[in-house]
């Protein structure tokens, strides 16, 4: 088996969201459904000292995130039907719509906000790594669309060379699910679990 992985270069990403829109267009996703999302992360504060002088530590950085096709995916662990599964050849995590009951447990448990139940379809939906494009030798559409070339996708051994296993805020420690996302962090990125780094566009991404 060749485990596939994404990489994300935080020093290149401008937060333009072309990846997200390309995915929505290619997968023809409705309003309210996105398989890749860009999280706007903000840190720091602005203070005024006794003399009235302002100083700030404020910063922000974008993080483009889809399913990380984890080595130990919690969505697969909790799924009651086995609909959520890891592909034996590629390690990509996908939903078998013929088995899914749409209970939403994958959505509740995933710490990367990846699966979601589509109520109209009656089953969970998520990023499948554009598996059909992979078969024909193409990159996932989000990777191909990125104008800054901040995203990449390929065998995990190659992606591992491009950064650390995802451990920046607002993501959790990688030990929970062993995500196949490798990140080159921007200078302002905070470590995983740092609650001082806040997602400032929750209505857009959650």
């Amino acid at each position: 088996m060749t485990q596939y992985a994404f990489s994300f270069d935080g020093t290149r990403c401008t937060g333009c969201k072309t990846c997200e829109m390309a995915c929505k267009d290619y997968k023809d996703l409705d309003l309210g459904v996105a398989h890749r999302k860009v999280y706007e992360v903000t840190t720091g504060e602005t203070k005024r000292d006794d003399k009235g002088c302002f100083t700030t530590t404020c910063a922000s950085y974008p993080l483009s995130l889809s399913c990380n096709h984890c080595d130990d995916p919690t969505c697969v662990r909790v799924c009651p039907t086995g609909a959520m599964h890891k592909d034996a050849e590629t390690g990509l995590v996908a939903v078998d719509a013929g088995k899914c009951v749409g209970c939403g447990y994958c959505h509740m448990a995933c710490p990367y906000n990846a699966p979601k139940v589509n109520r109209e379809k009656g089953h969970s939906v998520k990023c499948d790594g554009c598996a059909e494009r992979l078969v024909s030798g193409e990159q996932p559409v989000c990777v191909e669309a990125c104008p800054a070339r901040a995203l990449d996708f390929g065998p995990v051994d190659e992606m591992r060379k491009k950064g650390e296993r995802a451990a920046i805020a607002p993501l959790p420690e990688p030990s929970y699910t062993q995500p196949n996302l490798y990140v080159k962090a921007s200078a302002d990125a905070k470590p995983a679990g740092d609650a001082a780094a806040k997602v400032s566009n929750p209505l857009e991404v959650m």
Binding site: G82, C100, G122, P170, P172, K198, P202
Partner: protein, 297 residues
């Protein structure tokens, strides 16, 4: 994150709120009614034993309404049989499977209560012991159904403990309804008073657990906010629970104390007592589903 997100979380799972309100109490009530026969054995009057057996429909119905309600939140119930594939791996499969086995066994037991001779007491007693064990397994499975390491606001000891405390509050009150409907009255009302006392103790345990839980919510946080942002009214809601459940326990206590020892207790008044407690439990199960948040996003 804010209360609107928390409310949406819980509203999306409203049928699970109903299920987890009703099923634990229904199972506990069935166990208590069964224990009357298990404990007293053949000494129990045969006609009364058959009446208790037949009135097991009350806790069975309450549990079944819960389980059926929970199935309505599924996007595609046609695939439900695949749930068996996750037994042992998925806590949700464990819950569903143990619920189906429990209700199936209890249902078959109840049907056989209508046999002409009332069945063989020794066999029925053994069957009830097995059903009681299945019930304990089922309630424990409900308590741990959403225990996933990544859902930090639910991966806490207080979650399963409070669900068991819920069962021990609603269960005795519903058992009083079933026993009264069957025409059972213990000598000197010892059992009835005991059940009210258990419910009162469980009430106190619930209140203590909810206050502890409410105090811990601000410390549970991720990059989106804290669990207390999702359910800012958790402690006031626990107050609503305390009042409703206290009213239910008090009504059951007064009913038990005031009706003369030889007379049958009025099931409707006891039903109202259970309904009050169940309303309180519903409020806190709603609050529970409001607090869902993961270690990440």
């Amino acid at each position: 994150m804010n209360a609107a997100v928390g409310f949406a979380n819980a509203w999306d799972e409203i049928t699970l709120v109903l299920f987890t309100t009703l099923a634990p109490s229904g199972v506990a009530a069935l166990i208590i009614m069964a224990l009357v026969f298990v404990a007293r054995g053949p000494a129990l009057d045969a006609a009364l034993r058959v009446a208790i057996d037949r009135f097991l429909w009350i806790p069975i119905l309450v549990t079944m309404v819960g389980l059926v309600a929970s199935a309505t939140h599924l996007g595609n119930p046609a695939n439900a049989l695949y749930v068996l594939a996750g037994i042992g791996r998925s806590p949700l499969s464990n819950e569903v499977a143990s619920g189906v086995v429990f209700l199936g066994s209890a249902g078959v037991y109840w049907l056989t209560a209508f046999s002409a001779d009332g069945g063989r007491p020794r066999l029925r007693r053994a069957a009830l012991i097995v059903i009681c064990v299945l019930g304990v397994v089922f309630v424990t499975a409900i308590a741990f159904a959403y225990d996933a390491e990544t859902i930090e606001s639910w991966h806490l000891p207080v979650v399963p403990l409070s669900l068991w405390a819920n069962a021990l509050l609603g269960g005795p009150l519903l058992a009083l309804v079933g026993l009264a409907a069957a025409g059972y009255r213990s000598r000197d009302s010892r059992l009835e008073r005991g059940l009210v006392a258990v419910a009162a103790l469980a009430w106190a345990a619930n209140v203590a657990l909810y206050l502890l839980w409410g105090a811990s919510l601000p410390q549970i946080e991720n990059a989106l906010g804290s669990a207390s942002d999702l359910a800012p009214a958790f402690v006031p809601l626990a107050g609503v629970f305390a009042m409703l459940a206290a009213a239910g326990v008090a009504l059951a206590g007064m009913t038990t104390a005031r009706v003369p020892a030889a007379a049958t207790l009025p099931p409707w008044r006891l039903s109202a007592a259970f309904a009050l407690a169940a309303a309180g439990l519903f409020v806190m199960r709603f609050a529970f589903y409001m607090t869902r948040m993961t270690v990440g996003l």
